[in-house]
Symmetry: D2
Subunit: 338 residues, 4 copies
Amino acid sequence: MIVVMKPGLGEDAIQKVVKKLQTNGYQIYQSKGVNNVLISAVGADKYDYLKQALEAIEGVERVIPIKVPYKLASRQFKQEDTVIKVGDISIGGKQVQVMAGPCAVESREQLFEIAQIVKESGVRILRGGAYKPRTSPYAFHGLEEKGLEYLAEAREKTGLYIITEVMDPRKVEMVAQYADILQIGARNMQNFPLLMEVAKYDKPVLLKRGLSSTIEEWIMAAEYIMSNGNSQVMLCERGIRSFDDTFTRNILDLSAVPILKEITHLPIIVDPSHGTGKWRLVAPMARAAVAAGADGLLIEVHNHPEEAVCDGPQCIKPRLFNNLIQEVKKIATVMERT
Amino acid sequence: MIVVMKPGLGEDAIQKVVKKLQTNGYQIYQSKGVNNVLISAVGADKYDYLKQALEAIEGVERVIPIKVPYKLASRQFKQEDTVIKVGDISIGGKQVQVMAGPCAVESREQLFEIAQIVKESGVRILRGGAYKPRTSPYAFHGLEEKGLEYLAEAREKTGLYIITEVMDPRKVEMVAQYADILQIGARNMQNFPLLMEVAKYDKPVLLKRGLSSTIEEWIMAAEYIMSNGNSQVMLCERGIRSFDDTFTRNILDLSAVPILKEITHLPIIVDPSHGTGKWRLVAPMARAAVAAGADGLLIEVHNHPEEAVCDGPQCIKPRLFNNLIQEVKKIATVMERT
Amino acid sequence: MIVVMKPGLGEDAIQKVVKKLQTNGYQIYQSKGVNNVLISAVGADKYDYLKQALEAIEGVERVIPIKVPYKLASRQFKQEDTVIKVGDISIGGKQVQVMAGPCAVESREQLFEIAQIVKESGVRILRGGAYKPRTSPYAFHGLEEKGLEYLAEAREKTGLYIITEVMDPRKVEMVAQYADILQIGARNMQNFPLLMEVAKYDKPVLLKRGLSSTIEEWIMAAEYIMSNGNSQVMLCERGIRSFDDTFTRNILDLSAVPILKEITHLPIIVDPSHGTGKWRLVAPMARAAVAAGADGLLIEVHNHPEEAVCDGPQCIKPRLFNNLIQEVKKIATVMERT
Amino acid sequence: MIVVMKPGLGEDAIQKVVKKLQTNGYQIYQSKGVNNVLISAVGADKYDYLKQALEAIEGVERVIPIKVPYKLASRQFKQEDTVIKVGDISIGGKQVQVMAGPCAVESREQLFEIAQIVKESGVRILRGGAYKPRTSPYAFHGLEEKGLEYLAEAREKTGLYIITEVMDPRKVEMVAQYADILQIGARNMQNFPLLMEVAKYDKPVLLKRGLSSTIEEWIMAAEYIMSNGNSQVMLCERGIRSFDDTFTRNILDLSAVPILKEITHLPIIVDPSHGTGKWRLVAPMARAAVAAGADGLLIEVHNHPEEAVCDGPQCIKPRLFNNLIQEVKKIATVMERT
């Protein structure tokens, strides 16, 4: 790291910083600029630990990290792409994987009908929420374990794999008995007890980006799961909060896809349904996501969006969903994927 | 609520919406504008339930709520200010309450030394984290239960009341045995299982605003706690995420104070330490917060900020802390508070 | 428009609003909700004029517009896509148009060399800045009229059409003598005297989105140009400001493309160079833009990015530019464009 | 500046950067970290010129500035506070100056009536817009020169000094003949031709912060005016754009006040009217601004807000204005100002 000292300081102030760094195992290189003294500290690995302590010393202007704060998730740590196996399919490999289904499991009939549509389109993974994080305590919060049972039954009937959200560290064990992929929602990206809990199970985790999380914070959240023992993490861009919510709930940040592909080795999924909040925008943004290099898509489909108990406006209907799958296939072919 | 239909629709599309509303118990008023038909729905109380279902109907342009989505937290529901009792002091009354202490409990000695400083300044509530949510899995995460024991011991010795953060629904019961006030951190504002868990205990809750939470989402999070049985909620503004983090970690949104005073009856606390992230800004923003009408302040104090294991740069030293208390007292007097 | 009154008001307060609306030519429909009285005002067209006046009346909670504030730019006003002719090519038609060249015109040699590369790739429009808006007064601000002369000479030699930025209303006449398309930069999107000045010339205008402009404000800026006599406006998404600038200068908001296609009839161009600020991200975001439905791309190319006087990090080199054009062509084919 | 090289590079890549820096007059200090080579460049002053050129060199990870990009506006350049004289009063000195008046000059009568109210409250500066930047081309844009004449007449009658906005570089000369202080609006903060034009006149300039401008960009805009010959610049915080506009148009960033006081020597004014957009919030935020250390306030007052042609909802009425002045005086006294 580099410590930038304020202009016009005596040797004392500088030695205080040098000493602090040396007692922590760093080797020191000083360079005197026109105004500021710079102290380059090399060798130890305690930036996380020391940054704030150094900045609290009078005379220190700022501390600049040189190394990135994540390790296991970084491309430097692992050169080749992580490919996650779910039964007989792979996520992060040559095939673009679509995960589709209703926002919430509402009933056995609703789920089975949609599962059938999903299956017939050629998609292999069914999404559906049994536990729903809702802004209002008065809204529908999911069928809970009953919903998980329906999902397992739908898997039995259709051969689709199941992805579903878990919100509570006390429920991870139970949800993991039903799901093939555990989903961590945007609101829980920095729910650290939950991240540590999902790390205990041998299940892939789809980690959604927080509403206003930086890319670095998001990777650090993945690092929580990985450093606690579960390396099967995929990242899901689902839109970030911006100043304009007239037409979309969020702004889908597609540049995150090529950035993450460069700096991490993890698969990147894009959710154009939550990312926009409008069904009319789902197909163009799904195409764009694949053209930007995404490894997969998470899409809300509903047979009767106007009856959906949540997120109806962003669900697409079966006919449009089939069109979307056809369009995405063409883009995938151009990208030399399948 | 008002449903705005798209221009140029037939009677069928409109009747579909009208029917949906009527079967849900609403009374309907239609008005035909130059381009759009408007449907005003009055009487039932199912906006949360119906909004998205209506927007998913083709022909519906948008649905506009008329009533606010929160009830128990609203000024309409309860006219007089909520005053929360903690032992022999009150929060939300005439007295501006300061809660001060270190970011994290680091050791018995550190905590007791700071507690003494806090006590001598006349402040009545001691803050200190035993469980710390940290962006990095490699950073210090707190002394955990040992930290809680030190806090309880400090209370014993000084008579200060204790506020400390809880992050995990599995730990609420234990933390509640030690703390006088439970703190929900910004990252957990929408951790709904945690909100429901703290609602079960007869302890005041300080609910921090999420990094990019709207004021309405924040009140809805309070509503989660209140509607689950605990009405002793105070709201804490601690800065929101913006496009400029060169000089501050966050932007302290002081206009939230008079807004919340108008629309809710809950006490409003301001945290100028996290709200700015720089100790030099803590005193001016503490003064400004009280001038804007805040009921209390949450302030990080450290005897040796440069040794602090977390948030050193935003901790103020004892001498400055005493100045701050003096300045805040003068502003409080102007505001006719104490 | 709809005027929502506060709960619990007497008839007087309501009549004050009704009168104000009636004297302005509106027809009134009242509906009494459980708490609030709603006043629907229909027929006149003075929302822009009355909104704030109404909100300043005591008792008024808020005023909700029903009609969109733009007219000439709206899809309702003009159903078919606007196709802008520039010499023998069209923007907004079947062909995806690329505009490429250096950020700034630096010298005759630099411009001609790049123009040659652009021409050989099959692209038809050359970009290059003669007047550069720079954050620092100490940075390079362009060759000014000399730069325009070089651009005109490059057009002569290569047959490429020229797009260049104009920043000053006093310079529009002169720039219009050289340019085929006038560019309004992001910082000037709401420079109203400039918008009114470019409206006077019979030249297409490319209007970049402001750094934190809403889509509605952006369309209103186009409306300024159109309502002052120039309907040849194309909109250019170039990234918006967000809370995370670690990896990109801006967040490219590609969902703006399908939104604008739905609500306006104007051509939509995307600038992935400014939109990301990193050359490595230009190609994936160019592909994504076309997959989302963009009518064209604005791309910075430089033969020696490390010598570029501005925006070097986001310029792509000739070889990568040719790859990009090939990739974009394939996506365009999938989109049934050329 | 410091150039951080990517890990694992050969000597060639490093020498390319070293050479570039040396030919530009820098002295070089290299330090080899565990992964990255760092090049510290000292002595020359070409960061603005070289940053992007360096980042475009392959192998360069990033370039970190050490010195701030502004000079004339910095506290290092000039230690003592700038105090701007306007007739017999000072801005930036011991006295907190209030500038008050209508958003727009609407008529002779309206202006004179409000001017009288302003004068009677003890305030010395009258604000009023003759040229109004409006989002919509169909809204009221001001009385133009007629409005300036009324302002001059009001000055004559009341002895108040006049501040008014100028939007067009072609009008600066004319506006400067009437105004005592020239105002640059938020939308024009980076209208560089306008900044250079106001620099030519011997009139104080109030420079509003752009809607999403960083503090550094804002100071750089001041630097444009100062480096072109006019050092009488005051900065005006007026709220920044955020993700939540339910209750306020903008978020008033009061932490900007103590930050600017530390890093620049220029007077800081706060506009709580635009900063919030709601009259009910003007008084608390005016108090908070002074408590945070502001040198002055810019406040919209209107005798009949519900008849105001612009910004009615944020105008306060005469009686409330007088209360506000009393409250602000008390806070100013606490701050040891008058």
